[in-house]
């Protein structure tokens, strides 16, 4: 009985291993590859809703919330530094060397760093290439950058100032919005970010302010500026404020030759306006809009609105009022300094106490897979097109959200039957050999000599937390029944490797992997 493979009854083993490459793995997902075809959280006080499931370590919890997924490297770093020092290092992001990532982005996704003037000549024939480069660069940085918290904030603000990419001339304008508006200000002052966004040609186009002229007002941007970017819908503005703000932004348009911001004085309404009770006198020109941005950025409703969204991102769908108030206070005291707000949030008791409350969105689900499994953190040979396809299946491709409110960040939206089903399909696709080039799984079970060790090693490598005794038993019993061996019977490495994709798929499909 030395040869473990012989212990497995041939029929059962064959049937089990036949799963590989079948179903979704062999059809739909593989077809997405280039050249391969056509085309509410639980209550606090315990892990997984107080069910007695072992909690993840504080280090793992911190990583899950401040990155796109736990990787072996990031776990080693936070274990060595401790949570506070690790987060401080991440906040001081410019000291983290990301030159290798940026060099790879520059060479692989060149259009992501081009200006409207550079992209105009090839437009619209280059739309596909621009989309591929901008989304590719975004995913590459999110999944592989050592500046994980910074990339989380880039995603946060890209969503806060959401712009639908495939819309009119926006493909030519959005790369500039990404590299000149969002990224330089993602860890800066809110007021700077707000003004950069207000003058961003992509935003001017998306929310129609480029055709907002004196005598012919267009209030789309004005309304969303108040409702979505600053005060929030109940932030205390009136319909008259919307109209007056629209007047203030008349003449803020786009230079048709360069695709840059342009203020056209003769298209501006130079009359006096009143916004939120403040008189904006006649003759202000471009400063009218800037005054509005000052009023909004210093308004307590804005502090509360931004603080709420930050707490929702890092804590829970319905965050406690106390920590929101603390972050809002920091906003008011620091002129909306993002790093200082995050520092307040991370130092709060809630950041330690609130656990297992967030559903990972597709970005963190795929990011979590990539970061756990692709341990070399290398961009796959398809330049990330598979990631694009997977996020498309899960409905969270960056910049693909159509209305201006950005992708939701609450469980009721993402935790639908379709949402879960598509995660399970992707997990099973790990069985397909072609997918394993992108998501290698064998290393997760290296050294396992029986079923129990296979499950334990895979769980440690993928979930970074212990399974409950009951769940561990369920998974081991499934394998025992399928293979006809006991949990402790020796298996050779080839058998263990053949099992790995199924074990990892089951773990990735479980609720443990769905939490952020």
């Amino acid at each position: 009985m030395k040869d473990a493979a012989k212990l497995i009854p041939p029929l059962d083993r064959r049937r089990f291993l036949e799963m590989a490459g079948r179903g979704i793995g062999a059809s739909a997902l593989v077809a997405l590859l280039p050249g391969c075809g056509s085309g509410g959280g639980g209550s606090s006080g315990g892990g997984l809703g107080g069910t007695g499931v072992p909690l993840a370590s504080l280090e793992v919890q911190a990583l899950r919330r401040t990155s796109f997924g736990v990787s072996p490297d990031s776990l080693a770093a936070i274990n060595a530094l401790g949570v506070p020092n690790y987060l401080e290092q991440q906040l001081n992001y410019q000291a983290i060397d990301d030159s290798a990532i940026e060099a790879a982005v520059a060479s692989t996704f060149p259009l992501a760093s081009q200006t409207p003037a550079q992209l105009y000549p090839g437009f619209p024939d280059n739309i596909g290439d621009i989309v591929e480069d901008l989304v590719g660069a975004t995913l590459y940085r999110a999944f592989f950058s050592p500046r994980q918290l910074y990339e989380v904030m880039v995603e946060f603000w890209s969503n806060h100032f959401s712009i639908h990419l495939v819309n009119g001339i926006i493909p030519a304008l959005k790369p500039y919005d990404d590299f000149a508006v969002i990224r330089p200000n993602a860890m800066g002052k809110f007021r700077d970010l707000l003004q950069a966004s207000a003058k961003s040609p992509a935003m001017l186009y998306y929310l129609d302010n480029f055709v907002n002229f004196v005598g012919e007002p267009q209030e789309n941007y004005a309304r969303e500026l108040l409702e979505l970017h600053t005060l929030g819908v109940d932030g205390g503005y009136t319909e008259d404020d919307v109209k007056e703000v629209a007047r203030c932004f008349t003449g803020w348009t786009i230079n048709q030759n360069t695709g840059e911001f342009l203020f056209v004085p003769f298209l501006h309404d130079n009359g006096a306006k009143t916004v939120l009770g403040t008189l904006i006198p006649v003759g202000g020109g471009v400063t009218d809009g800037e005054t509005v941005l000052d009023l909004l950025a210093s308004h307590p409703s804005t502090a509360n609105f931004i603080a709420t969204k930050l707490c929702r991102r890092f804590l829970s769908d319905d965050p406690p009022a106390g920590v929101i108030a603390a972050v809002a206070t920091t906003f008011n005291l620091t002129d909306g300094d993002v790093v200082e707000m995050l520092r307040t949030l991370f130092a709060s008791g809630e950041f330690q106490d609130i656990q297992d409350q967030k559903l990972a969105r597709p970005m963190e689900f795929i990011g979590g897979l990539v970061r756990a499994l692709n341990v070399n953190q290398t961009l796959p040979p398809d330049d990330g097109r598979l990631y694009f396809a997977l996020l498309n299946l899960l409905s969270q491709v960056p910049f693909y959200w159509i209305p201006p409110n950005g992708y939701p960040d609450v469980a009721p939206y993402w935790g639908s039957t379709s949402g879960f089903l598509n995660r399970w399909r992707i997990a099973l696709a790990l069985n397909a050999p072609v997918i394993q080039e992108y998501f290698p799984v064998e290393h997760t079970v290296a050294g396992a000599t029986n079923l129990a060790e296979t499950v334990d090693l895979a769980a440690a490598a993928v979930l970074y937390r212990e399974l409950s005794v009951a769940d561990r038993t369920t998974i081991i019993d499934w394998l025992v029944t399928e293979l006809g061996v006991t949990a402790q019977q020796p298996l050779d490495q080839a058998t263990v490797n053949a099992l790995a994709p199924f074990v990892v798929a089951m773990l990735v499909s479980s609720v443990y992997f769905q939490l952020r």
Binding site: R15, F16, E18, M19, R22, I24, G25, S27, A28, G40, G41, G42, L48, G49, G50, T51, D208, V211, F213, G215, E216, P217, Q218, E219, N220, R223, E227, V233, E239, V242, D356, L359, S395, I402, P403, N405, A411, P412, W414, G415, S416, T417, S418, G419, F420, L421, N422, W424, R425, L428, T474, W478, T481, E482, M506, S509, S510, V511, Q514, L515
Partner: protein
């Protein structure tokens, strides 16, 4: 594949509630450029560049001597003339917000004046009625996510594609059974995971995608066309479906309305006409309602579009609809009649329409109580009483 012989359905049959198909036009459809009040001269003063000309100048398709259909929506004429399609004009929920997201949440809640309810009007209706069957398909959204209108029902399903709703062949049932066990118990998301697993089994057993469009129905290749085709397939597959929600986005026409809106209208008309044609006699037991979050400003804006407004229009389709009418009181478009001096006023509270729908077609008792804080008003007859 041959279709299964029709069986008595849990909903949608004689003596049973109609199947409700709820279509939501996301983005705030412009009612006044969908159903043209060409008999109101102020319309052309307010919309000199984007207004649709009257029928006698080759513009709108006359409906009743006052209103005309946008010509791009011509495919709606047959069901209208058959008496199975009605429109309600100057309708909406008086929520007094012009935020898309707020207004959608409020309309789907059935709530006025920012009374957030946290549940949807359909969800509350389903929670208040016993299912005629014990099937898991009472409420389905053809979507990746559950819309607010269904919140409150037990585990409403979000099915983005009937064809792909499965995890594939994994060599037997043990994989799925194990997953089922892992999601059993008091865990976050166990309810939705269990619902997905059950629905997967039921869809595999009944395979609704085997039902092709019938009677020459031709669905457009679009979000709405695909959504309504799948709604029809769910109804034909006898899965106990009572409500299907389908979204159609892209109605936020702030600029170049004459260029962009006809495509949206043509899609709406083609999809509704195809659904009506496809289901044939089954439409006697199906009611489809189209609604949006609010109408648009009465006057055009500076970029040949319209900004956010108030009163809009709704569409009702089915064998139980008293069709061939544009119902509701026209409030007029003179300065004194416009809501807040600039919007088409609401003269028919959309909730009155929904209450009549629920009571006359879905056997709801006291449907008005499903809308907290709502005082029912008088509405014209829009639905036949289901026997």
């Amino acid at each position: 594949m041959t279709a299964n012989p029709p069986k008595l359905r849990a909903a949608g049959g004689p003596g049973l509630p109609d199947v409700l198909v709820c279509v939501f036009q996301r983005g705030a459809a412009d009612g006044m450029n969908s159903i043209i009040p060409y008999g109101d001269g102020d319309y052309y003063n307010l919309r000199p560049d984007i207004g649709i000309l009257p029928p006698n100048q080759g513009g709108a398709l006359d409906l009743d001597g006052f209103f005309g259909l946008h010509p791009a929506a011509a495919e709606l004429l047959p069901p209208y003339q058959m008496g199975r399609l009605a429109a309600v004009h100057a309708t909406g929920v008086p929520h007094n917000t012009r935020s898309h997201f707020d207004a959608q949440a409020l309309v789907e809640s059935g709530a006025a004046d920012k009374q957030y309810l946290g549940t949807g009007w359909i969800g509350r209706h389903l929670a208040a009625t016993e299912s005629p069957s014990d099937r898991p398909f009472r409420a389905v959204a053809i979507s990746g996510a559950v819309p607010m209108s269904l919140v409150g029902a037990d585990d409403p399903l979000a099915v983005d594609s009937l064809e792909d709703f499965g995890i594939g062949d994994v060599g037997g049932t043990s994989y799925q059974d194990t997953l089922d066990t892992l999601y059993t118990g008091d865990l976050p998301f166990s309810g939705v995971a269990q619902a997905a697993l059950t629905a997967m089994d039921e869809l595999a057993a009944s395979d609704p995608t085997q039902y092709p469009p019938e009677n020459g129905a031709d669905y457009p290749q679009s979000q709405l066309g695909s959504g309504l085709l799948q709604a029809a397939q769910l109804i034909k597959a006898d899965l106990g479906v009572e409500v299907v929600c389908v979204d159609v986005s892209g109605w936020d026409h702030h600029e170049n309305l004459p260029t962009v809106m006809p495509g949206s209208l043509a899609d709406l008309a083609a999809a509704l006409n195809a659904f009506h044609t496809d289901l044939g006699a089954t439409m006697d037991h199906v009611t489809l309602a189209v609604m949006t979050e609010f109408g648009r400003r009465a006057a055009e804006n500076g970029s040949n579009g319209t900004d956010h407004g108030t009163g809009g229009c709704a569409w009702l389709l089915g064998g139980g609809v008293i069709g061939a009418q544009v119902a509701g009181t026209w409030p007029g478009l003179d300065a004194g009649s416009l809501f807040q001096g600039e919007d088409l006023a609401i003269t028919t509270d959309l909730r009155d329409v929904l209450v009549q729908l629920l009571e006359r077609r879905l056997y709801s008792q006291n449907a008005a109580t499903l809308f907290p804080g709502f005082t029912p008003g008088v509405v014209p007859g829009l639905f036949l009483n289901k026997s």
